[in-house]
């Protein structure tokens, strides 16, 4: 329903490997060496500033998540001193201090880890669950397909935010004393549980489309086993759209995690995350707008980088959009 990672952004079916020049230039081009789809896409990508900008930003965010100390050496993101409460940005605290006197710059840097770890792991989970279900469903067909598709419908019918809130309050209510890792695990699980049907549908239609392709029929006629056909033929064909979708989904999930933390049902203090910071800062927006502005800016930039990268790759892979 209100799934932030609605499939339409990547709904274009996987591009068939065609020579891009052939459609526009009439006449056979006997002297041209046929280029592969991937080579073509890479050639296209290399010339896009959007691709380089987003890729650079993503590398920075990943470094930030892995080695936050690189960006904020010696800073403390968790403890503050009340004497600095709501201090304005200055030389020693670039982004100022929050109400508990914690360094906002350090918190924004350290907040990247929780957001990105949750998003990436949720995407991996979603791709694995959805991908497996999609392959089984598309390949087996029949009642298996019917059953799995109905199960997917059940989860797809849940409104995304609502479903996540219900799941998280059930397992992560105010009374429960879950550890930091458990909370993160729960957020990851609920994002995965609510999103896998989209990937399953994508995968299933990919498999159905490829299954009847002549080369698959030929491979089967030559005695290739099911496992081999899936590994050697189906997966490589479906992989490109899945990776694109996964990249975009990382962006959406960073936003979803922030939304849930903002609502107070996701990650909780003392975990540092952008959503928590925005949620905590909103009551001080008149006095210290920076408390909301800086985490929001980082959040939006991170989401945008992943969405932009996915978009750039998708456009490069889709000859129709050229």
């Amino acid at each position: 329903m209100s799934d932030p990672s609605t499939a339409s952004i990547v709904s274009t079916p996987p591009a068939q490997p065609t020579d891009a020049g052939a459609s526009t230039a009439p006449g056979p081009q006997s002297n041209e060496k046929p280029r592969g789809l991937l080579g073509d896409a890479w050639r296209d990508l290399r010339r896009k500033p959007l691709f380089w900008i987003s890729a650079t930003l993503i590398v920075i965010f990943l470094l930030m998540a892995a080695f936050p100390a690189l960006f904020a050496p010696g800073a403390d993101a968790v403890n503050g001193s009340l004497s600095r409460s709501l201090n304005k940005p200055g030389a020693d605290g670039w982004f100022g201090y929050d109400v508990q006197g914690r360094d906002v710059y350090a918190r924004v840097i350290y907040g990247a880890r929780a957001s990105i770890v949750v998003a990436v792991l949720s995407v991996v989970g979603t791709l694995l669950v959805g991908g497996t279900m999609g392959i089984i469903s598309g390949y087996r067909g029949g009642w298996v397909d019917g059953l799995l598709s109905r199960i997917a419908d059940v989860f797809f019918g849940l409104p995304f935010v609502l479903g996540a809130i219900v799941i998280l309050t059930t397992f992560n209510g105010s009374g429960s004393g879950n550890s930091k890792a458990q909370i993160m695990g729960l957020v990851i699980a609920s994002l995965t549980v609510l999103s896998w049907p989209v990937v399953m549908r994508l995968m299933r239609s990919s498999v159905l489309a490829t299954k009847e392709a002549d080369y698959i029929v030929a491979a089967r006629a030559l005695g290739a086993g099911t496992g081999r056909i899936i590994l050697k033929h189906l997966l490589p064909n479906c992989l490109a759209p899945l990776l694109v979708y996964g990249t975009i989904m990382v962006g959406s999930f960073i936003g979803a995690e922030a939304t849930l933390s903002f609502l107070g049902v996701g990650l909780k203090s003392p975990v540092v995350s952008w959503g928590i910071m925005i949620s905590e800062g909103q009551q001080f927006i008149r006095v210290a707008p920076g408390l909301v502005f800086f985490p929001a800016a980082f959040l939006v930039t991170a989401v945008l980088s992943f969405v932009m990268l996915g978009e750039a790759v998708r456009e490069a892979l889709d000859p129709k959009l050229r």
């Binding site: 609605t6 019918g157 995304f160 009374g175 962006g251 922030a258 939304t259 609502l263 969405v307 932009m308």
Partner: protein, 308 residues
């Protein structure tokens, strides 16, 4: 057609049961003691526990509970909150507000999204096209709570153009900004789908034929091109109406709209299980029915589709 409809309806039943059962089990059965923290900070009164246990058959297993719940529901009985308020009453007062908000959002999506999509689809790679592409990226990337928060703060608090919250009268003028916030991501999707669809169909053979017939450009675009390109857009809009209502939690919270999303969030926080389940049942039902209607609409829009 009749048989197709019947088959779709039959498919809908297990999905409806599955989704609502899932929520029911999550809310009532998983936490163990169904009354833990249900009545605010205090322990629930014994009388209430006895009443609820009898009404919802809480002493039996979750399947029996669910079956009884559904039986009551089909007779229009959604149950009561712990303060004895009829849940159907809560739904009836808050649902129209959400519907109104969703319709405003849908109208904004249709006007802005479709307008931008058609313009850029016809003139690709111009300045306008790039502007729209970048802004749709932003709208997709920005979480709804950020968009809502920023707009509320900028337009409501800083510039004073709008009132930061919506009054209980739900005037149309007050709903425009919240409507935009609710539909912000969908505006972008609609714009993109419309753009792709127009751009793809623009080179279609039948458009060429229409030009070769000597029809004025207005008619070629307005009748032949648009009629075909609108099919995916209209279906997306239809699906979205169902989705918008379930997604209104954040928007309604930010702008203080007394809608179904706010009620369900309140109910979740105060652990009013009966209210949560009741509202989710309604939302899921609306969503499923909207999807079915969209399927049927598809056949009306594209004569090539025949339901067997």
């Amino acid at each position: 057609m009749g048989r197709y409809l019947l088959r779709r309806l039959l498919q809908l039943v297990p999905v409806f049961i599955g989704t609502t059962f899932l929520i029911y089990a999550l809310v009532w059965a998983v936490p163990g003691d169904p009354f833990a923290g249900k009545c605010g900070e205090r322990r629930c009164p014994d009388q209430y526990i006895a009443f609820m246990t009898e009404k919802y058959h809480l002493d039996q297993n979750v399947f029996v509970q669910y079956a009884n719940y559904m039986k009551n529901l089909l007779q229009g009985d959604f149950g009561q909150t712990f303060s004895q308020r009829e849940i159907s009453d809560i739904i009836l007062t808050s649902y129209p507000n959400t519907l109104k908000l969703a319709l405003v959002a849908l109208a904004i999506e249709a006007v802005i999204g479709l307008g931008a999509g058609v313009l850029t689809g016809l003139r690709r790679n111009g300045f306008l096209d790039n502007l729209v592409l970048v802004s749709t990226l932003f709208l997709i990337a920005l979480p709804v709570f950020v968009v809502g928060f920023v707009l509320q703060w900028l337009l409501g608090v800083q510039w004073g153009i709008i009132k930061p919250t919506v009054s209980s009268e739900m005037r149309l003028s007050e709903l425009i900004v919240p409507g935009f916030v609710l539909g912000s991501a969908s505006v972008a999707y609609i714009a993109r789908v419309a753009r792709t669809s127009i751009a793809e169909n623009r080179r279609a053979d039948y458009v060429r034929t229409a030009i070769a017939k000597g029809l004025p450009m207005r008619r070629v675009v307005g009748v032949h091109l648009l009629r075909n390109s609108l099919i995916p857009v209209v279906t997306l809009l239809g699906t979205d109406l169902g989705a918008l209502m379930g997604g209104a939690i954040v928007t309604e919270g930010i702008f203080g709209i007394n809608g179904i999303g706010r009620q369900v969030f309140r109910a979740i926080v105060t652990k009013e299980s009966a209210t949560v389940v009741g509202i989710v049942v309604v939302l899921v039902l609306v969503y499923l029915v909207m999807n079915l209607l969209v399927d049927l609409l598809y056949a009306a829009l594209d004569p090539r589709i025949r339901y067997e």
